[in-house]
Symmetry: C2
Subunit: 365 residues, 2 copies
Amino acid sequence: MPRQFVLEDLDDLCRGAAVLGTGGGGDPYIGGLLAAEAIRKYGPVTLWDLAEVPDDALVVAIGGMGAPTVVIEKIPNGREYLWALEALERHLGRKVDAIIPFEAGGMNSTTPLMVAAERGLPVVDADGMGRAFPELQMETFNVYGVPAAPMAVVNEWGDSVIIEAGSAKMVEWLARGATIRMGGHTAIAEYAMDGATCRRVSVPGTLGLTQIIGRSIREAREQHRDVFTSLIASFASTHYQHARILFSGKISDVSRRTERGFAIGDVRIEGLEPFAGEMLIRVQNENLLALRDGQVRAIVPDLICILDSETGDAITTERVRYGQRVTVLGVSVPPIMRTAEALAIFGPHAFGLDYPFTKIEDLPR
Amino acid sequence: MPRQFVLEDLDDLCRGAAVLGTGGGGDPYIGGLLAAEAIRKYGPVTLWDLAEVPDDALVVAIGGMGAPTVVIEKIPNGREYLWALEALERHLGRKVDAIIPFEAGGMNSTTPLMVAAERGLPVVDADGMGRAFPELQMETFNVYGVPAAPMAVVNEWGDSVIIEAGSAKMVEWLARGATIRMGGHTAIAEYAMDGATCRRVSVPGTLGLTQIIGRSIREAREQHRDVFTSLIASFASTHYQHARILFSGKISDVSRRTERGFAIGDVRIEGLEPFAGEMLIRVQNENLLALRDGQVRAIVPDLICILDSETGDAITTERVRYGQRVTVLGVSVPPIMRTAEALAIFGPHAFGLDYPFTKIEDLPR
């Protein structure tokens, strides 16, 4: 039975999306405002589990593209996500039957809900990254053979670019160029596919997962339980099975620049009791690598989440700053994201990191 | 009566196109090779005078975009111009009835002939710049109200971008970004319009004009007459009425860089008898401003042509080098390019030049 996503579900979703975004995906507060307005105006959104997607349904992935550092200054007007979908529909000559988030995390968990509410379309409870990633070829849709093109890129004025290219990497390259020229943040629609394909190539249940994560944080706080213990237990009940605290301390240095359309840099954390030493986190929009005193403790595509030590809320890349007390959570990703094909597209080497992928559950604590 | 453009017409056209290109428009030798191959294979091309274009014909402007310094290293494969036309046709959902060059100059006088030969389409003997200009909003099509979008940008692999934007300047901005990401040179199709509009907004007869210029240079050489006297007399018989020698000397300095997708710089010429002093020519792909000892002698949109003092052949921006003996020719452009509306789009201020436009015929010699 398709579920209904109602306004009351939104807070947990946004809180969870910030965690799953591992720093990226865009500010979940802005994303939450946009979705709340649409659901208030147009009513709840139908969620389809992957198993419920009809074979011949036309499914399209939508969301925002750009550096998270830009989104909080160049606020979306809210219409561009719908316009991106419509631009792609015009190009395809066909209306879309369902929307899927291309990434699970940040505002890209909520922009699909916003557009779906207005258009009365279902959203598929799944996505193409299982988290947030900085580049558009880094999607399981691409890993398992769906062409990224045609892709629509739209800005807040309604200017649009339709990209057709032979590889997902070239699509990303051209879309990134358009996004930079459009001011650093755009709305996109991409990876048009039929329902049968969608079931095969998507990371299942990631909208539901963000709700579970968000609820876990909220309930632990309401019940004065330890947020991190609650989170670890919640992950253990999902296909993101292995979660552990990697480090806890005070942010001692943030080096972050907006470059080539990305937020790039390093975060250093000085250990606080019972943790000693230092953790270094490498960032390209998302947190990619966590080194404790030079030793790998978690590495992409496994999740590295920087959480507020007090509240358990995720701190996104653009909001990380000196002096924050943070706890770093590492989480395993599902098998579909750890195959050799997947690691070739979004494993450490794809980011220029000179470390092999090692599952978090196989790394020393 | 429509004329036929045959293989034997090509040499004069290329020679003339290099002059009218005022440094830009891309290497006419490469353009000539591409067109010659197509005409040899598919036969002559029908030329329509503006008056012969039917009211309801769909006319599209095509050509190459990018820095001329790039074209001579990243040679076109020759298919991308046709692909650009086809990409725009697919987007419009309609076949094109005639092709018009968007600029008159360099290889952009010949790329339309190449595509027209293969597709069996006529080429309109007119264009949207009356010369070459570095940016795509700098077209009489835009000046007189034709939307630049939708526009297709295609690379040598067939990757394509379709741009829809509210202003010609935004179209240029996004197309330039795509061209930079595609390596610095692309093929484009733009300014789709009906025949009635085309007649109103185009600079007439510029393909014929390039043939007149090229023939004038060739015949003067064959008959051992002075090339520049011949050229000045030829221009006087056209709507590019006033031509004069601005300076003659030896190139003493070339400062040229490929920046923001353009070839930008200054050329300095040291006078040789009977000319004394120095001429400085400011370049953005095309020659924009000629200063003799600090005094304006010609300024955009009037033509500033750097010609080889020996042969009369134009020297394009990417081939200008220290030590060349050159003669600088200034030429007036037709009234349609000198209206207040036209000067607002491609007059001196549009290039950031802090000089008013003064007609060459009103400037001191």
